[in-house]
């Protein structure tokens, strides 16, 4: 078989009917383009979300109060005060799969610095919080264990707060008032950006947990405990360990439900991933339908083409083409049409993904495997839907075909 000649013949026939060939390709182009665009945007979004979850620190466990209720009414995580500093200390002392523990006391307050003021969230944490959240200071220093012990009135500002309260100035060493309590600024955190819910993580002030709890808060209940496991792989084991310690600390009997809950980053990640995966799957199904429609379009046009070229087929058969030669010729033509459609679809899809990515400011992940599969799949569609018309062409009776008007 002379492939080069066959491909040349097919290309020639495609180029003879440029407009029609293009319209035939359109179904495949749109199908492939939507597959590529959706998967690129989907994967990009997924990567963005994972990235943001990672930016909160990879091996994190969050112990939250709540999940307890009265008379069967569950109040939901975080709705009830059940955690104390003692819980955090117990975890730190007893847990073996845990490297860092920090209680988190969350208050909101009006913060005043000179003539500027700002309403923000003040979080009481311990000195190791920068390690747990992998969140280093940009300028100055973080407060120390000693500051926590002595309930020192020192604060570390998030980048947004620093910019708002001290525009164009160095805040280190400056005095601010949080509510009615004066603090000294010792450091400014590096920029962390938005979290996956879109809120600004830099709009925050960090201060020693004891200071916030006793000078700003109620002196007893803390909001959560942030724990970092020894490694990402050990997060689940660490979770069980922390759960056991917490149950002991809260003196829960065997049958009692937890009056706290523990979340891991892996869970959050899985939740987010499953949502985007679901979306991608649904939209891919839509794209698949358009590929199917594109394939039927190819079959339709190929049938018309076979009828139009009956005489040509007759000539070819008369001068010695085998049925298989005619079959292959039309299959190649269908495959080339759909592969060209696939190629144009890939280009259009990448451009579309770029435009969508820019519009919703999401990342685009171009996956070579997706592109290869789309390309091959479009070829398969051409061969599959081209088979019936090609078979019909090959089965023509040469005498009748030669006299076809």
């Amino acid at each position: 078989m002379k492939w080069k000649s066959l491909i040349k013949v097919a290309l020639k026939s495609i180029m003879k009917n440029r407009m029609r060939s293009f319209l035939t390709m359109l179904g495949i182009i749109i199908g492939v383009a939507s597959v590529i665009a959706l998967i690129s945007v989907g994967k990009g979004t997924q990567a963005d979300i994972s990235g943001k979850i990672q930016s909160m620190g990879t091996n994190l466990l969050m112990v939250m109060p709540g999940a307890s209720g009265f008379g069967g009414v569950s109040r939901g995580a975080g709705s009830w005060h059940t955690l104390t500093l003692a819980d955090a200390e117990k975890i730190e002392k007893e847990a073996t799969l845990v490297t860092q523990v920090s209680p988190v006391v969350r208050e909101s307050a009006q913060v005043i610095a000179g003539r500027n003021n700002w309403f923000t969230s003040v979080q009481g944490v311990t000195a190791n919080y920068t390690i747990i959240r992998s969140w280093p200071v940009d300028r100055g220093a973080f407060f120390t264990d000693r500051d926590v012990k002595t309930m020192a009135k020192v604060a570390v500002l998030g980048a947004t707060v620093a910019d708002t309260l001290f525009p164009g100035q160095d805040p280190i060493g400056a005095r601010i008032r949080v509510g009615n309590v004066p603090f000294t600024v010792v450091g400014v955190l590096s920029k962390k950006g938005q979290n996956m819910m879109g809120s600004d993580q830099d709009d925050i002030i960090l201060a020693p947990s004891t200071t916030v709890l006793f000078r700003l808060g109620d002196g007893k209940w803390i909001n959560s405990i942030t724990v970092s496991a020894v490694s990402e792989r050990e997060t689940d084991a660490a979770r069980s360990e922390v759960e056991a310690i917490m149950r002991r600390s809260h003196r829960l009997a065997g049958s009692e439900d937890n009056n706290f809950s523990i979340r891991t980053q892996t869970e959050l990640n899985e939740m987010a991933t499953s949502v985007t995966r679901m979306m991608t799957l649904l939209l891919s199904a839509v794209a698949g339908v358009s590929l199917l429609v594109g394939g039927i379009g190819i079959m339709n046009i190929m049938l018309v083409s076979v009828t139009e070229r009956t005489r040509e087929i007759g000539i070819r058969l008369a001068i010695g083409a085998r049925e298989a030669d005619v079959l292959v010729q039309f299959l190649i033509e269908a495959a080339i049409i759909s592969l060209m459609g696939g190629l144009l679809g890939i280009l259009l899809g990448l451009v579309t993904a770029g435009v969508i990515g820019r519009a919703i400011s999401a990342s685009i992940v171009v996956d070579p495997l997706t592109i290869t599969i789309s390309f091959l799949f479009s070829g398969i569609i051409g061969i599959f839907f081209g088979f019936y018309p090609a078979k019909k062409a090959a089965a023509l009776n040469p005498i009748e075909a030669l006299h076809y008007e």
Binding site: L317, I319, G320, R322, E323, I399
Partner: protein, 227 residues
């Protein structure tokens, strides 16, 4: 041994409920280097006979031996290969591919030359086109050529695979008298150079240019004369 031998050849078509007996027992021998005209009124069976001789169709009964090969029992695929290797067709309506140059039209049969008998397709195409006097029309497309020129391209296409026999179905049917004679002169030339030619026509003038004429009526040979 004769190049072509037909023994009691029959062909019956079924059209609806009626059997049409196109050939009712034809016996004929054609030697190499002959120039044979088959004549007859329409419906006499001459087209059917040409289709069978050209291996486009199989007989219903009897034997057809071409160059020692028993054609009657061959598969479609073997028939296609015989058409490619041993037979050159020239049709009444030229049957060239539109929007395709003379050269490419002539090369077409070599696309299916599986054995690779012809070594240099492009060179061979130029050679046969020159042989029919179209050496200066290589890149013309059919719609830029006159009827006579188109038929000459078709003859060149029939010659490129070096067939043992040239079959022509009313080759002058679409041409005026002068052009017809030019085309017939090409056939006579080819025959003088050794080509076996069978030509189907209903025009007595054309038939007279051959060296032997057979007349068919109702699927039987009624006359076989050397001219």
């Amino acid at each position: 041994m004769a190049l072509i031998e037909l023994k009691n050849l029959t062909k019956t078509y079924r059209m609806g409920d009626i059997d049409v007996h196109a050939l009712r027992g034809v016996d004929m021998k054609v030697e190499e280097r002959e120039f044979l005209a088959i004549t007859g009124a329409s419906g006499s069976g001459k087209s059917t006979m040409l289709n069978i001789l050209g291996c486009l169709d199989l007989p219903s009964g009897g034997e057809y031996v071409l160059g020692g090969i028993q054609v009657s029992g061959l598969s479609k695929r073997e028939l296609a290969d015989i058409r490619n290797e041993k037979i050159g067709f020239v049709f009444q309506g030229f049957n060239l591919l539109p929007r395709t140059s003379a050269l490419e039209n002539v090369e077409l049969p070599l696309l299916y030359d599986r054995a690779g008998r012809i070594k240099n397709p492009a060179g061979k195409a130029v050679e046969v086109l020159t042989r029919v006097g179209l050496g200066d029309r290589l890149h013309h497309e059919p719609n830029k050529l006159s009827g006579g020129e188109q038929q000459r391209v078709a003859i060149a296409r029939a010659l490129i695979n070096e067939p043992s026999i040239l079959l022509a179905d009313e080759p002058t049917g679409n041409l005026d008298t002068t052009t017809s004679m030019e085309v017939i002169e090409i056939f006579r030339d080819l025959n003088r150079q050794g080509m076996t030619i069978i030509l189907v026509t209903h025009e007595p003038d054309i038939a007279h240019q051959a060296r032997r004429a057979i007349e068919l009526r109702d699927g039987r040979i009624i006359k076989d004369e050397v001219l």
